[in-house]
Symmetry: D2
Subunit: 351 residues, 4 copies
């Protein structure tokens, strides 16, 4: 793990930061040389993450976030900080010529007004929106290679866009009336100390939250709009699962008359047949979150319901790996001229 390309991580104490540490500890062409945290500066990484004890990465000292220092030390910086903070730090790093993979939402929405309407803050780096690339490798791989700023996709959008893209871009489902019913593991709710995510509040229970108002909605609509070639409105709704990792989205669409299940399968296979990380399940079987745990896989299964004329698509990802830090490493690999799979070759973690 020595002598890789030096990279940094701003915001190491959340679950996305933890997952980046896990992945990069086994990446032999990239070396994490800076990890920052306002609350834990001065400690070794293994002090806050004992799972890194006796591993080289565990010895790295956590520092205060310092843009100058990051720019001097790193070729690329991952940002795992809240939106708004990210646009500030990310913008300054990019100004200094440092590549940036931003895990926040700040550079995902191309239209500043839509961003400001959903996120309720001003966008102060509108100048960078045109060059920021939406880092979903299946559709933007080539652009990512040349990007200085990559907006790493949200977890829910990754599961929803990969599920719907093939059938929307081929026009076999109605663009109206789509329902995306998503369920996420609790790591998606962050690592802040809140009563609502205490063990005894989440364990052995299940709930819906943020119905109709989740901030990933405009991101999903933006990318589905690109696929469909027209402006899209979807009903996107989220639920909290008592599991650590994993998102499963059940997506309801109206199939256009005369489209056969076989044709739908052909379209999925055409879209993803050569994609290492999207697995289209055979007829009769459906994804489960455990089968993608710890990996970049997006598993997709579908059923055509003849009674109601619906195509129902089920997609599953690991929200921390494919939905955040793993995808960030894939993007960094591309931006640094490395093989996209570097450091991400792990088999799913079962059971």
């Amino acid at each position: 793990m020595s002598a890789g390309i030096p990279v940094g991580l701003v915001g190491v104490t959340g679950y996305a930061g933890m997952e980046l540490a896990r992945i990069l500890s086994g990446h032999d062409s990239m070396e994490l040389v800076r990890v920052t945290s306002r609350s834990d500066a001065g400690k070794k990484l293994s002090d806050i993450y004992p799972f890194l004890l006796d591993m080289p990465l565990g010895k790295l000292e956590i520092t205060m976030p310092d843009v100058e220092d990051l720019a001097k030390s790193c070729k690329l910086v991952f940002l795992a900080v809240p939106h708004k903070t990210a646009m500030d730090i990310g913008g300054r790093l990019r100004d200094m010529g440092v590549k940036v993979v931003d895990l926040s939402a700040d550079f995902r929405i191309r239209d500043r007004e839509i961003y400001e309407q959903w996120y309720k803050v001003d966008h102060t780096r509108e100048d960078l929106l045109p060059e920021a690339v939406y880092g979903l490798p299946e559709f933007y791989r080539e652009k990512v290679r040349d990007a200085m700023i990559v907006a790493n996709p949200g977890c829910y959008p990754t599961s929803a866009i990969l599920a719907l893209h093939p059938v929307l871009s081929e026009g076999v489902v109605e663009t109206e009336g789509i329902v995306i019913d998503s369920k996420s593991g609790t790591s998606g709710a962050g690592r802040g100390a809140k009563v609502g995510t205490l063990f005894c509040e989440v364990h052995d229970s299940f709930k819906a939250y943020g119905l109709t108002t989740h901030r990933h909605t405009p991101e999903i609509e933006q990318e589905l709009g690109v696929a469909a070639g027209e402006s899209m409105t979807v009903s996107f709704n989220t639920h909290l699962l008592p599991i650590d990792r994993g998102i499963l989205s059940t997506t309801y669409t109206n199939l256009k008359p005369g489209v056969s299940p076989q044709h739908v399968r052909t379209l999925f296979e055409k879209a993803y047949g050569n994609e290492r990380w999207v697995r289209v399940f055979p007829e009769g079987s459906l994804p489960e979150t455990r089968w993608v745990r710890g990996t970049m896989f997006c598993d997709i299964g579908f059923v055509v319901d003849q009674r109601t004329g619906r195509l129902i698509i089920v997609s599953a990802i690991d929200n921390l790996c494919r939905g955040a830090s793993g995808q960030a490493v894939a993007n960094a690999n591309l931006m640094l001229g490395l093989d996209i799979e570097k450091g991400l070759e792990m088999a799913p973690f079962m059971p």
Copy 2:
């Protein structure tokens, strides 16, 4: 628990049987005098359920199912056996003048052909279908009082019908295009020894199953059709949660133009304002399965999505209590002339 009305239970070894034992151990007007199981006959109930140790009910001996003996000993019998077996035993008991609460699906579907099409078996007691009452107390309370056979509703249908009945019967949502996305705890999958429901296969994971083909579909469509006054087709789909108990259904409907959220609220309050067991959540809050745990409550919350014109209803029940054995006891209470709440006055079990 002494000297209550004598009742019996056929099929005590599953989760519905276990839950009936839990509830009846605290019921002071009904006394469980027969519990049967082919596999465990001869044992005391506390031998298979140590939670009943040192409780009077724990001393009851499990017997082989014997219709004559049940008829002689019991005024009412609960059937917690698979469909097909239930119609046979239930029919014979009813022929002998014993009241029956059947937790299987055998008497739920009024149309024999629909039953046979979904359940793939012949219905041998079609003669009893006209008199069997669908035991959802909110809508059939009076009929249950006079019934000899009550078809205890399915768990998913209970959550779906209570959610949709008020808005369908008042005609404020379209009957077309309804999606019911349901998620159930693992006790709903039964207590049979199967690899698929082992702890390590379910824990920390989530999956969809039985998409478009779940046998509760015709039951839901039948009762929603009664509410709407027209034949209904819905898209009903199910998922497995890594929790013991609880069903949460997220139901998507198209609101008719001009119907305000306030009006929807009025309709729910009109329907359930006097119903002890249906709680309509205030605006801004939504049900969670933990808040109904161990009880008869069906919690209902809703959101109107102005962007998509949808009314989204979230309903939560305990699948074992409201969705099976608790509801069975409520029906038995009615059939035996007792207060419907007898033995069911428990507060939700939190956390």
Copy 3:
């Protein structure tokens, strides 16, 4: 729930407070008329605990803690606040003639010095220590009836003392060399917002904590000393389980030479044969936390290991019910002249 004896609860927002609310909502001789919380004053109880929605208790308004008001309104007050705060409020209430059940440790340790050494605070109400009664009903039932202040036992001590009392008081095990290896569900860690008890930190994991230093140690040693008739030192160690409720303690003792397993059984049966809430398991079976969930039961099983000369005792309780609020209600029942079982007649919650 109307017109019972008026009681109050100081500190309603933690898990002990939540459990008291659950139990008292079904208690028909005691009425909760005051619930206090500094952080949630002004809200209705159902605002913070939606599981109480539409139940009479849910309508109760939370108030700021006010000793004068409590004294005027209540015959008895439960204290579910941290140690030190409890001795202050509890002492003032007792001075005003109000009965107090204190769920903290402040009045449990009879020796002020030992208290101060383990809890690192001064005891300002040493005057009340002689009259405070340790509220373990099996051993102090009669004293509790006449008490003005009851020190409600800790959760771990309840499981440990009930396990060891019969064999220590009869002198069949050595007083030296006892190891109590205890494991507790996460509700025992409280409802404060801390990273360490977030779902993703606890779920699917297990750890030891507080080895050799847990503050329940002096309480255990005090009561075992009473049983043994001599000063006791034990090795008491604790672990955190990824479950909501439940404590299971595995206790290792050295059996004195010549004591047979049959004799040990006789002693347990003599001690607890007439105790409704202590269940001695038959040979060959052992307690599990699920079998006592939601109840006052302490389940006890044991094994004699001929190879090592050890008697190993396994005891299980529900840490919130028997280990805190249920036991508090039992004590309050006694202090108010009610049947000790009032409001506590529930069957274990399975699964």
Copy 4:
């Protein structure tokens, strides 16, 4: 992953088999060319393990176990079958000159009589006991390199022996009076369809099992006896955790007079300072099962209790990786002349 040394696996359908498949799918010097299962022969591996879909290993066809075929195709065979079956297949393979890593207990106990007494079967290959090597790499690494048969250690023994070996071999604790209180995740109970390991029977609960009678006892005593240089008897007892993976053992010993905590630390560091896979925790911190998840680490922490004169050692491993299949791969690496860490370089899986 192509063109590695060909190896086989007998018994792929259990959790140890599943874990071997996970690890070997990323091993680039060993190639799994045969996987057998009586029940699933004829299927592709990804048919039973969808997590392997679209991975090269997923395409491997499951065959019936056939010793001749295995001997022809493989240089080394892993046995993940029950004891007794293993001694038969393993013996025949060894007779044909094939190297064997046996995950069962059949070759772990050097004394045939002790084996037969605890396992209640005859040992039919006593001739192989002298040459079989107990595959705990920290102590038998060199012997494993030359072995034809390696007895892969049990999961509990791995955690117990690594915890106690340094202090027993240096004679700083008494050999009498040792208590090993172990807790294991449910994957340790196997993948057979049994009611007792269904999700709803294990989830949100905790129990002791097999007190004083666990078959790993003689294995622990044998190896601790080697360390101590004298025959050992320990009290070893086991509990079932509602987690997928992980064992945590809390071990109680009596420290000899005058031995300081610093000296104990020195001994652990001397024993494991150069061992990549044993991590000795700094003072004040203790292992948790999540910090070793998916890895070969055995994490060890300890506390000296001055009040009772005890040294308490806490050790944690992943029962499937370090406690079974990962250790098997480490042994296979040694036997095949590969670097011991090949295929096992993963960081712990958090959260």
